[in-house]
């Protein structure tokens, strides 16, 4: 006779009071089946805190450490620049970095969701961050494309930028290459095929377009699985540049004349400290070098465990970033010294030959040391012949060579490649150098693209209709298509517009509003409590003073300074390459260029007020809720997002009951404040999630026992053994509860 089958509903409550749980599980034993209900974190997370630290290092340590900091060091008094730099690091760098990590880790959402959670009127801040990140992604990958171009061209027996190409009838070199230098020619003509002004567009440079395609495909490969793939990649992108830098350091200081450069850099010219520009540049360098305001740090931190010690990590990453800047500038200055000495000695050699040829003296008579005495001597003895060549006598000066400070792409692609071509085994050094540039650039791109895809993934509408791989692919494809504009003949001029305007003023504004809103709109006390919840201790006075007072003041003054600079600077100008003169000339931007610059700035800045207005007009009246604190944190929805619930029904070996399972994920998680005694018998009060789920089981008409087991840190309020239709039992009285807090 067949046994009747009945279904009944088991309703249970799982809630955790543990500190660090990424899974909750509950096991229900019946007579011949066991039900395991497991809830796991749904949001992906880093495999280990080390991955997170390396991701932040890889993001923060970028091209700016290599090409901007040495320039600033040189302009503002060498070793003396370290004083304002380190001061600004402690005044604004570390506090702001820590604040962004705290926000991300607390809210567990990308920048848009995080700022909406802080205040519903501040969603525009997140949107501004995403817009700025988008602009940055567009133009930053073009630099990686150039690095690829140079890298691939290093695999030749003679580096293509070492020699000028010969002209048509092989009597000499191409004229443009003669007036400029071979490295400049290679960069401006062969790499960019640059036109003479921003108005002249040309076609796309196919080689550049291919390299940009490759760069975006590699970026997609790195971020396709979100933090899982990013976490693997950062082990390499964060550490290998240091290997190359160390190799370069050893090579650099053993070059002839390198010591001149290093000495020049470290001799402090303390009078530069009186120049206010020095302090402003130090503040902006720290600010931009750490990559604040893009939302990347919030995105990275949102994948952390709730109790990750971000405070220590923030200090570590910021210090690593600054030390890398100093380290890279030692390498850069030894290369500078080598290049300057090489040019100086070539200059002397040219004068020596000139004198020898004009006066037909034997080769051994003039040497590098006694050139000046000879010049003097010849001036006196043969005044007319000397006067004829007097215009060609250059003044060779090592200081003048060392003083030529270059920054930006000019430093990375022209000055460095010029130095490399003169080293022995130049192909090897070239490959190493451009691989390092690539890794630094790619590491920063990871953070930039993550800043865009994390808020997008948080938007429920998108993540339900498309898989995360498709969303990531679409973002990369869009950026690639728009980025092709930078590979046209006038592309470098548009690149310069983006480089100078897209992510400068807007970032200062964004981070200023961030600090103000965290300290004064969200409330410093609430923020402190959140940090205590995460770390276990409150932030000390240093953090509070910096967040509340010092950093906002600094940011505000920087912002005002930038605006004054823009206004006072008149029409914005750019450097256009003149191929007849062989150097850059200054030109003004045309009207549409200036309009574009204004649009760039406004599009990011206006997001904040526009979104605030939008939410003012769309806001429905607040519904009163029992838990007044929870409804201010819309993030209790996080627990919905955070946990996926799985049901496992296992049939015991000797039974023959029919079991079907109905796996479903929980839909109702709420949070409430729980009070009780912890394992040290002290009263404690924490916010905990409560989730309910149900499973249907058939049961045969025999008696069955039920016992409940739970994972440490999980308390279950009980399982119901209900007939269908009954409601869940109320929570058991406090006395019968026992729960344990994990350390």
């Amino acid at each position: 006779m067949s046994e009747p089958v009945r279904t009944f509903t088991v309703i249970y409550h799982i809630f955790t009071v543990g500190r660090q749980t990424d899974r909750l599980s509950l096991q229900i034993e019946l007579k011949d089946i066991t039900i395991i209900i497991m809830s796991k974190e749904a949001r992906p997370s880093w495999d280990s805190p080390m991955q997170f630290v390396l991701a932040c290092v890889s993001y923060a340590v970028g091209l700016g450490n290599v090409w901007r900091f040495p320039y600033l060091c040189q302009m503002h008094g060498g070793g003396g620049f370290l004083i304002p730099y380190l001061l600004m690091l402690f005044l604004e760098g570390i506090p702001l970095f820590c604040m962004e990590l705290a926000i991300g880790q607390k809210m567990r959402l990308g920048s848009i969701g995080a700022w909406t959670a802080i205040s519903p009127y501040l969603g525009g801040l997140g949107i501004a961050s995403v817009v700025t990140s988008m602009y940055l992604c567009l133009y930053y990958n073009v630099i990686n494309a150039w690095s690829f171009w140079y890298l691939f061209h290093s695999f030749q027996s003679v580096l293509p930028w070492a020699e000028c190409p010969v002209n048509a009838n092989r009597t000499g070199y191409l004229e443009e290459c003669e007036v400029a230098s071979s490295t400049q020619y290679f960069f401006y003509r062969e790499t960019l095929n640059i036109s003479s002004s921003i108005d002249e567009n040309g076609g796309l440079h196919m080689g550049q377009a291919l390299c940009l395609l490759l760069a975006w495909i590699i970026v997609y490969l790195f971020i396709v699985r979100g933090v899982k793939s990013t976490g693997m990649v950062v082990y390499f992108t964060a550490t290998f540049p240091y290997v190359v830098l160390i190799i370069y350091l050893i090579r650099g200081v053993t070059l002839h004349g390198a010591w001149n450069g290093v000495k020049y850099m470290f001799t402090p010219k303390l009078e530069q400290l009186a120049n206010p520009q020095t302090w402003i540049n130090a503040a902006t360098q720290i600010f931009f070098s750490l990559g604040l305001g893009f939302g990347s740090l919030i995105a990275f931190a949102s994948y952390n465990h709730h109790n990750n010690n971000f405070e220590k990590q923030a200090v570590v990453v910021s210090l690593i970033n600054s030390c890398t800047s100093v380290f890279a500038s030692i390498v850069t200055f030894s290369i500078y010294g080598f290049k300057a000495t090489f040019n100086y000695e070539s200059c002397l050699e040219r004068i020596r030959l000139l004198l020898l040829n004009t006066f037909n003296l034997s080769e051994e008579s003039i040497s590098a040391e006694n050139i000046t005495t000879w010049i003097h001597h010849l001036n006196i003895t043969h005044p007319e012949r000397f006067a004829a060549i007097a215009s060609k006598i250059e003044l060779c000066s090592l200081e003048a060579e060392l003083d030529t400070a270059v920054e930006g792409t000019g430093l990375a692609f022209i000055v460095y490649s010029e130095a490399i071509k003169n080293m022995p085994l130049s192909q090897l050094w070239s490959v190493l150098y451009f691989v390092m540039l690539l890794l630094l650039g790619m590491g920063s791109m990871l953070g930039n693209v993550t800043a865009i895809i994390t808020p997008l993934a948080d938007i429920k509408l998108l993540s339900r209709s498309l898989s995360s791989e498709s969303i990531n692919g679409l973002v990369c494809l869009l950026c690639l298509l728009l980025g092709f504009g930078f590979t046209s003949r006038s592309g470098n001029y548009w690149f310069t517009i983006f480089n100078e305007y897209a992510a400068t003023l807007s970032l200062l504004f964004i981070v200023f509003i961030e600090v103000i809103s965290v300290c004064y709109i969200y409330g410093l006390r609430r923020f402190e409590k959140d940090i205590e919840d995460m770390l276990g201790h409150r932030p000390n006075w240093y953090w509070k003073v910096m967040w509340a007072v010092v950093s906002p003041l600094l940011l505000f003054s920087l912002f005002i300074f930038y605006i004054i600079n823009y206004i006072q600077g008149g029409t914005p100008t750019y450097q256009a390459w003149d191929k007849d003169l062989g150097r850059s000339v200054v030109k003004e931007y045309p009207v549409y260029g200036q309009v574009f610059i204004a649009l760039l700035l406004l599009s990011a800045l206006s997001c904040v007020p526009l979104a605030a207005l939008h939410s003012v007009f769309r806001r429905k009246p607040l519904r009163r809720h029992r838990h007044t604190e929870t409804d201010q944190h819309k993030h209790h929805d996080n627990f919905n997002n955070n946990y996926r619930h799985y049901f496992y029904i296992l049939r015991k070996q000797d039974s023959d009951s029919e079991v079907t399972a109905d796996t479903q994920t929980s839909r109702a998680c709420d949070s409430t404040r729980k009070h009780g005694m912890n394992h040290e018998d002290r009263a404690e009060s924490l916010m905990v999630p409560i989730c309910t789920a149900s499973v249907k089981l058939p049961v045969s008409p025999w008696n069955y026992g039920m016992s409940v087991r739970y994972d440490p840190g999980v308390e279950s309020s009980g399982v119901s053994r209900l007939a269908p239709g009954l409601h869940p039992p109320p929570l058991p009285p406090a006395a019968r509860r026992q729960y344990r807090l994990q350390a």
């Binding site: 080689g207 496992y648 087991r709 058991p732």
Partner: protein
């Protein structure tokens, strides 16, 4: 008589010197031996000059296909310490007639490589003023080497992406199949008498005393 004989003896070189000094068809040559060879530099002496004149005669022979050029046809003057001098080429048929400049230039350009090598010098260090050096032809490749490296890298990256996407697709397909069927054995959880939790979690579970005595048996 003696004067006449002396004049006869010294006239040709004097005439020759005039030919060399005044002519428009001469070329100035400059050698920078110390710059090129450093410690291994040789001394510039009469023998070296002899070699130079003979190489030029050789160049003229090759260019004009006449075997009549001899070393006496190359006249040299204005020797300096720098090691620079002027030379002219006289026609083998008539010692008073000079070979025009263009022809000499052509001869030198065609054979510059041989002349350089005779002296272990290069175009930079053995200069003929007014004759631009013929630079080496640029190497032309069938496929540019950078394209080859690019092709390798993009191929590897494409393979990586395809592999990743395939593994994602197959993972999703497996998950769908699992959800459809009975979940008897899931992900390696062993069927045991109530000890499954320990294989999931890291610690043993604890009986919650509060609930285990409540209504053990259900009414049906």
């Amino acid at each position: 008589m003696l004067a006449g004989v002396l004049l006869l003896i010294f006239l040709p070189p004097l005439v020759a010197k005039d030919l060399c000094k005044d002519s428009q068809d001469g070329f100035k040559v400059r050698l920078s031996i110390k710059t090129a060879l450093g410690d291994e530099a040789y001394e510039w002496n009469e023998s070296e000059m002899f070699l130079f004149r003979s190489t030029l005669a050789y160049a003229m022979r090759k260019q004009s296909n006449q075997d009549t050029y001899n070393i006496t046809n190359i006249l040299v003057c204005n020797d300096t310490q720098r090691v620079s001098f002027v030379f002219v080429v006289t026609s083998p048929n008539d010692p008073d007639q000079l070979i025009p400049k263009e022809q000499v230039e052509r001869a030198v350009r065609q054979n510059k490589h041989r002349i350089n090598n005779a002296f272990l010098l290069s175009d930079m260090t053995l200069e003929f003023m007014g004759i631009p050096p013929t630079l080496a032809t640029p190497i032309t490749y069938d496929t540019e080497p950078w394209l080859i490296v690019f092709g390798v890298v993009i191929g590897a990256v494409a393979v990586g992406i395809v592999a990743l996407l395939m593994s994602t697709v197959s993972r999703k397909r497996r998950a769908k199949e699992k959800a459809a069927g009975l979940s008897e054995v899931d992900e390696g959880i062993v069927k045991e008498n109530g000890t499954t939790l320990s294989s999931l979690g890291r610690k043993e579970g604890v009986y919650n005393q509060a609930f285990s005595n409540d209504d053990r048996f259900t009414e049906l």
